[in-house]
């Protein structure tokens, strides 16, 4: 199977969903955004906390990620909601450069939140009526950009669920698509193995610098990361050290060369497998991936991490037979037969690829259908 049913977008891109995004520029208008989303079916709230008063690298990351989330090809068009004109226009303009329709609501200008919700509802309604005229069409797998993620990992993650994801990653890259792995901390102890796959010295050095800088920062602050990563459920599941966790984690990137190193929420511009620098926790890293235009995420969990990305439908896989039973409501596919029934990783990878194509073509994942979705844009500095 080498096509999926997707929505064509400007700039020769494709979306696997067709939401109208209602996007808050800052946390101070989230209630307005949520009220509009409640009033109009077919909309998706794109909200985070903070942003007002951020500066330097944090401001750059916040604006890039907001613009990236609005520009994600799963979003047909966007209503940008802001408190004041300057920041609202700035974000709206950045999203407009993706070629999609963007409307705005400025709360101070329209005269308060009640009016903002009323006008926003009418604008979102018009956008949804237009967006729902679009149809899916057959598109090659080269139009897919897939994120690979793990959370709530345990010993089964590195042995079967991550390698199964790695099989799909390889197929997508072979078909001319893109794969992005993130979570910088989860390369500590495995970075030398991963770096060998870099296509050039420059890519190799850029990647290693990300991992070294992160470790240097921890050392500089006297932080012993053993208290933070692995987390308690990793340890309960048998992972003893970050090194062990990382060596299991890299399997989800498959076996193709590392072609690029991306900043948080930066979009990949070439085919192949990329690394994106993000914090390790799931919501933050998936927000970075979605901000970079990733359309869907393959997510391995050992102990049971249930959250998905708000914008990129997230497929949850587990290789832990206990989790597959206990958390069956939140698991899309179980791969524990690799360990218990001798099913090969290659065979499981084929089944996961079929599910990937089905989700790309419109099948809802459980986290999507159950509304288990969240957004958190990473920040690293204090606010003024």
């Amino acid at each position: 199977m080498n096509t999926f049913m997707g929505y064509r977008r400007p700039g020769d891109r494709a979306g696997i969903r067709n939401w109208v995004g209602v996007l808050s520029v800052m946390d101070n208008v989230n209630p307005v955004t949520r009220a509009i989303v409640t009033a109009v079916q077919g909309t998706l709230a794109i909200t985070t906390l903070f942003v007002r008063g951020q500066y330097g690298r944090d401001a750059e990351i916040a604006y890039r990620t907001l613009a990236g989330l609005g520009s994600n090809p799963n979003i047909a068009s966007v209503l940008v909601v802001g408190l004041e004109t300057t920041s609202t226009e700035m974000i709206a303009d950045r999203i407009r450069s993706s070629g999609k329709a963007v409307e705005i609501i400025v709360v101070q200008d329209v005269g308060g939140t009640v009016e903002a919700v009323a006008q926003g509802t009418r604008k979102a309604l018009a956008l949804v009526q237009k967006a729902t005229m679009l149809q899916r069409e057959p598109l090659p797998l080269s139009y897919l950009t897939i994120g690979v993620e793990c959370g709530g990992s345990d010993a089964t993650s590195g042995i079967c669920s991550n390698p199964t994801i790695g099989e799909v990653a390889d197929r997508i890259v072979e078909a001319g698509g893109r794969v992005v792995i993130s979570e910088t901390a989860e390369f500590l102890g495995a970075e030398h193995v991963f770096a060998e796959r870099a296509v050039s010295d420059s890519v190799r050095q850029q990647f290693l610098k990300c991992v070294t800088d992160l470790e240097q920062e921890a050392l500089r602050r006297g932080v012993d990361i053993r208290g933070t990563n692995p987390v308690p459920d990793n340890i309960r599941g048998g992972l003893t050290t970050i090194e062990e966790k990382s060596l299991g984690a890299i399997a989800k990137a498959g076996s193709t060369p590392l072609v690029g190193v991306l900043d948080y929420a930066e979009a990949p511009t070439t085919a192949g497998m990329h690394f994106m620098e993000t914090p390790a926790p799931a919501v933050e890293s998936m927000t970075g991936l979605a901000g970079g235009g990733i359309q869907m995420i393959l997510f391995a969990t050992g102990q049971g991490n249930t959250i998905g990305s708000a914008i990129a439908p997230t497929i949850k896989i587990t290789g832990n037979y206990k989790t597959a039973e206990r958390l069956k409501d939140n698991i899309d596919m179980r791969v524990d037969p690799i360990l218990t029934d001798g099913v090969s990783i290659a065979e499981m990878g084929k089944r996961l690829l079929e599910l990937t194509i089905s989700v790309a073509s419109g099948q809802f994942t459980v986290s999507e259908a159950l509304g288990q979705r969240e957004i958190a844009i990473s920040r690293f500095e204090p606010t003024i």
């Binding site: 102890g189 050392l219 500089r220 602050r221 012993d224 990361i225 340890i235 048998g238 050290t241 050992g302």
Partner: protein, 101 residues
């Protein structure tokens, strides 16, 4: 009564349990290395056991790579985890100690 375990690489000195194991039970490991060992404690599913005697300070090897260092010795069949293994990465506490000397 035996529980299975897998060994991922020929250079590994630990195996990972594929079921919950009880103290005294035989553990049959397979994969890159094959054999049997008696469990010295209850060891949960997904946790590791030593394949041979490991000394304090010795590298723990899994996936053919170093994944940590023993902080105490362990016999073959003993549970190998956070109580007797330390990570070697992100150890800002060690740097802080050095600075204080």
């Amino acid at each position: 009564m035996s529980v299975r375990a897998v060994v991922l690489h020929a250079n590994d000195n630990v195996a990972t349990l594929m079921g919950d194991g009880k103290s005294g039970e035989t553990c049959a490991y397979s994969g890159a290395r094959q054999g049997e060992v008696n469990l010295r404690q209850d060891v949960p599913f997904g946790h590791k056991i030593a394949l041979e005697g490991l000394a304090a300070g010795e590298d723990v090897r899994k996936y053919g790579q170093v994944v940590g260092r023993m902080t105490a010795s362990a016999q073959a069949g003993e549970h190998v985890h956070v109580h007797n293994v330390e990570s070697l990465r992100g150890r800002g506490d060690l740097v802080a100690k050095e600075g204080a000397k």
